[in-house]
C-alpha cells in the first residue's frame, strides 16, 4: 500500500482516481461482508450514543420535541437531586464491597480447585453455574424468596431461635443481600483465576519451599504477585459490571430502589428517570456521567497498574 501511494503521488488526478476505483474494487467484497456488522454498529451503537449525547443537553419527554437546555441536566445532578446523591452512594458502596469480596471469594475457590482434585471439570461447571444464572430475573426472584421475612434464611435462623428481619425490606440489610448475590456469581473471575494459577510454574513454589517459605508466605510473595495481571483484568471487568448492575436491584425492589432508596443503583435510577418519568434528557445525562465515571476509574486503574501489576515479559 505504501509503495502504491508513493508511485501514485506524482501522477495526475485522473490517474489517481482510477487507482482509487481500483482499490475500491479490490476491497469492495471485504466491505460487503462487513456490511451487516457495520449497519448494526452504526445503527445500534454509534447512532444511539451520539443521539443520547445530544439528548443529554435537552429536555425531552418522548412526546414533545426535545428542547435544548444546555448543561442544565448536568448542573441538576450535582446541585438539585437528592436521588442522584443516593444512587451514587448506593452504587459506590456496592462497587466498593462487592468487587473485592467477589474477587477474594473467586480466588479462594480457584485455589481450592487448583489442588489437582478429581472431578475438577464437574466442580468447575457447578461453581460456574451461578454466574450463568446469576444476573437473570429468575435468580433475582429466587433471592427475594430466600431473603424475605419468611424466607429460607430466616427459617434456617429460626432453628437456633433467632428471629431474623426481612432482609430485603430492611434498609440496613437490603443492599447487603444484593452484595451477597453478586459475590455468589463468582464463576467467571474464578475460571480466569484458575487459568492464571495454572500459568505459575511449579518450580517457583519448589524454590520457595526450599527457601523456607510456608504456604501463607508463598501465597503473598509468589502466587499473588504473579497473579496480578489476572487480578487487574478481573478487577476492571467486575468493577465495570458492578457500576452497571441493574437486574437484581430492579427485581428485588420491584423497580423502585426501595426500601428508602437503599437499593437505588445508578442504573436503576437512570432507568426510572427514563422509562418511569420519561425524562429522557436527564437520563441521557446520567448515562454519560456513568460512562465518564467508568472511564475515570479504568484510566486510574491503568495508570496505577505499573506500580502493582507484574508482567512477566
Amino acid at each position: 500500500m505504501a509503495v502504491n501511494a508513493a508511485e501514485a503521488a506524482p501522477q495526475n488526478a485522473a490517474f489517481s482516481t482510477t487507482k482509487w476505483s481500483r482499490a475500491w474494487q479490490n476491497h469492495a467484497p471485504g466491505y460487503l461482508f462487513l456490511l451487516p456488522w457495520l449497519i448494526g454498529f452504526i445503527g445500534l451503537t454509534v447512532g444511539p450514543m451520539i443521539t443520547s449525547l445530544y439528548l443529554s443537553f435537552t429536555d425531552f419527554d418522548l412526546l414533545t420535541p426535545a428542547q435544548w437546555i444546555g448543561t442544565a441536566n448536568y448542573e441538576r445532578m450535582f446541585t438539585n437531586d437528592r436521588n442522584f446523591a443516593a444512587a451514587m452512594r448506593v452504587t459506590f458502596t456496592f462497587v466498593l464491597f462487592s468487587v473485592p469480596l467477589k474477587l477474594a471469594f473467586a480466588l479462594a475457590i480457584a485455589m481450592l480447585l487448583n489442588r489437582g482434585m478429581k472431578g475438577l471439570p464437574l466442580y468447575r461447571a457447578l461453581f460456574y453455574l451461578p454466574s450463568l444464572l446469576g444476573a437473570s430475573v429468575a435468580i433475582a426472584i429466587l433471592w427475594r424468596q430466600i431473603f424475605a421475612g419468611d424466607g429460607l434464611v430466616n427459617q434456617f435462623l429460626s432453628i437456633f431461635g433467632i428471629v431474623g428481619p426481612s432482609w430485603i425490606s430492611n434498609p440496613n440489610y437490603s443492599l447487603w443481600t444484593l452484595i451477597i448475590l453478586s459475590i455468589w456469581q463468582f464463576g467467571s473471575p474464578m475460571i480466569i483465576f484458575l487459568a492464571g494459577l495454572r500459568q505459575i510454574p511449579q518450580d517457583m513454589y519448589e524454590a520457595a519451599s526450599l527457601d523456607g517459605a510456608g504456604k501463607w508466605r508463598q501465597f503473598w510473595k509468589i502466587t499473588l504477585p504473579l497473579l496480578t495481571p489476572v487480578v487487574f483484568f478481573n478487577a476492571i471487568i467486575q468493577t465495570i459490571n458492578a457500576f452497571q448492575s441493574f437486574t437484581p436491584a430492579f427485581i428485588i425492589s420491584n423497580g423502585t430502589g426501595s426500601p428508602i432508596n437503599s437499593t437505588l443503583f445508578y442504573a436503576l435510577y437512570l432507568y426510572n428517570e427514563a422509562f418511569s418519568f420519561f425524562r429522557m434528557g436527564y437520563a441521557s445525562a446520567l448515562a454519560w456521567f456513568l460512562l465518564f465515571l467508568i472511564a475515570c476509574f479504568t484510566a486510574f486503574s491503568f495508570l496505577t497498574s505499573k506500580y502493582w501489576v507484574h508482567y512477566d515479559d
Binding site: 524454590a207 504473579l226 507484574h310
Partner: protein, 351 residues
C-alpha cells in the same frame, strides 16, 4: 564441616509404577557427586527426593547420619539450583537472593552483607537491582547459584543447571561451578545427562539407568573399568566400539580375526574398545580387525577414522595428531590387550 549423605534402599513409586528400585549410595563429605544417565533414568527424581521436593516411598535418607525422610525441604540444610533457574520474576536480583534469608527472619544488615558477598563471588554486583527478565541466560544462572550460596547450606543440589545455556557458556559455567566447589568445599550433587560434564566435574559419578545404579565411582574408575556394557557405552566420547565376538578354543574371534588377550575369555560375546585406544600401526598391541576406511575427519589435534570390519561391523578410531588415511583403503586395527574390554551375554564385564 562438610556433610555426608547416605541413601539406604531408597525407593520411589508413583502408584503401582516403581521408578527408583532401592538405591544404595554413600556420598562422602565435601564430595562433588554427579548423577548421570539417559532421560527417564530417575536421576532428577533421586535428587528431588534428597531435596525433599518428592516424598520417599521406601528406604532411608541420612544426612550426617540423621534420617531425613520426613524432614521438610527447608530444614534439610540444602539449596538447589533448578534447570529452569526458577527465579522469582517479580523480584529484583537482590530480592531473589534475599528471599530465603528474609523468610528466616534474618536481620536486614546481615542479609545485605550475605547478598553482597554472594554477588561478589559470582560477579553479579552490577545486576542486583535488575529483574530476571533483564538478564541473559548466563546471568540468570549465576543469580540462581547465588540464591543457593547466600543461604550457606550444607549441601548444594544442581538439577541440570547448564542445559539451557549455549555450548560456550556451558563450558565456562562448568568451570565456575567446579571452582565454586573447590572454594566452598561443600557436599554437592549435580544431575546431568551430559557425560562430559560428569567426567570433568565429578569426584564420583553415579550412572543410573531405569531407577537402578549401574555403577558408581571415580570418573577414571568408570572409564577404565566399566562394570557393564551400559556404563562402557555411556562414559567416554566418542562412544566405545562394541564388536560381537565368539570364543573358539579359548581365544576370542572378532571380525574374522582371532586375538590373544592373554587372559581368560570364557563366555565373552562382546569386545569393547575405546576409539582412542585403537592404533593402525603394526607393532603396537595385538591385531584385532582388518578394516576398510569409510570416512576420515581431520580435527587438527586428532584424526577420527570411521571404518568397517570384514564382517560388516562399524568401528570408530581416534588417532592422535594429523594423520593421512585414504578413504577406501584397507588398514589393520591394533589394541593393547590391557585396554580391551570383554563382556558376557548379559552385558557384564569379564575381568
Amino acid at each position: 564441616m562438610a556433610t555426608s549423605i547416605q541413601l539406604r534402599q531408597i525407593k520411589k513409586a508413583y502408584g503401582d509404577v516403581q521408578v527408583i528400585h532401592g538405591v544404595d549410595l554413600d556420598i562422602e563429605p565435601g564430595d562433588f557427586t554427579v548423577f548421570v544417565g539417559p532421560s527417564g533414568c530417575g536421576k532428577s527424581t533421586l535428587l528431588r527426593m534428597i531435596a525433599g521436593l518428592e516424598p520417599i516411598t521406601g528406604g532411608d535418607l541420612l544426612i550426617d547420619g540423621q534420617r531425613m525422610n520426613e524432614v521438610p525441604a527447608a530444614r534439610r540444610g540444602i539449596a538447589m539450583v533448578f534447570q529452569s533457574y526458577a527465579l522469582y520474576p517479580h523480584m529484583s536480583v537482590y530480592q531473589n537472593l534475599a528471599f530465603g534469608l528474609e523468610t528466616a527472619k534474618m536481620p536486614k544488615a546481615e542479609i545485605a552483607q550475605r547478598v553482597q558477598r554472594a554477588a561478589e563471588i559470582l560477579k553479579i554486583e552490577p545486576l542486583l537491582k535488575r529483574k530476571p527478565k533483564q538478564l541473559s541466560g548466563g546471568q540468570r544462572q549465576r543469580v540462581a547459584i547465588g540464591r543457593a550460596i547466600v543461604r550457606e547450606p550444607k549441601i548444594f543440589l544442581f538439577d541440570e543447571p547448564l542445559s539451557n545455556l549455549d555450548a560456550e557458556l556451558r563450558v565456562a559455567m562448568r568451570v565456575e561451578i567446579a571452582k565454586l566447589h573447590y572454594d566452598l568445599g561443600n557436599t554437592m550433587i549435580y544431575v546431568t545427562h551430559d557425560q562430559v560434564e560428569a567426567m570433568t566435574m565429578a569426584d564420583k559419578i553415579v550412572v543410573l539407568r531405569s531407577g537402578v545404579i549401574e555403577q558408581a565411582g571415580a570418573p577414571l574408575e568408570l572409564y577404565n573399568n566399566p562394570r557393564n556394557l551400559f556404563v562402557a557405552g555411556f562414559i567416554g566420547s566418542p562412544k566405545m566400539n562394541f564388536m560381537t565376538s565368539t570364543v573358539e578354543a579359548g581365544a576370542l574371534r572378532t571380525g574374522g580375526v582371532a586375538l590373544d588377550l592373554g587372559r581368560d575369555v570364557t563366555g565373552a560375546t562382546t569386545l569393547g574398545i575405546r576409539p582412542e585406544h585403537i592404533t593402525i600401526v603394526e607393532g603396537s598391541g595385538v591385531k584385532f580387525a582388518d578394516l576398510t576406511v569409510d570416512l576420515v575427519e581431520n580435527l587438527g589435534g586428532q584424526t577420527v577414522v570411521y571404518a568397517t570390519t570384514r564382517d560388516g561391523q562399524a568401528l570408530t578410531i581416534v588417532l592422535e595428531g594429523q594423520r593421512h588415511v585414504e578413504i577406501g583403503s584397507s588398514v589393520s586395527a591394533y589394541v593393547d590387550p590391557a585396554k580391551a574390554h570383554i563382556f558376557d551375554a548379559e552385558g557384564n564385564a569379564i575381568r
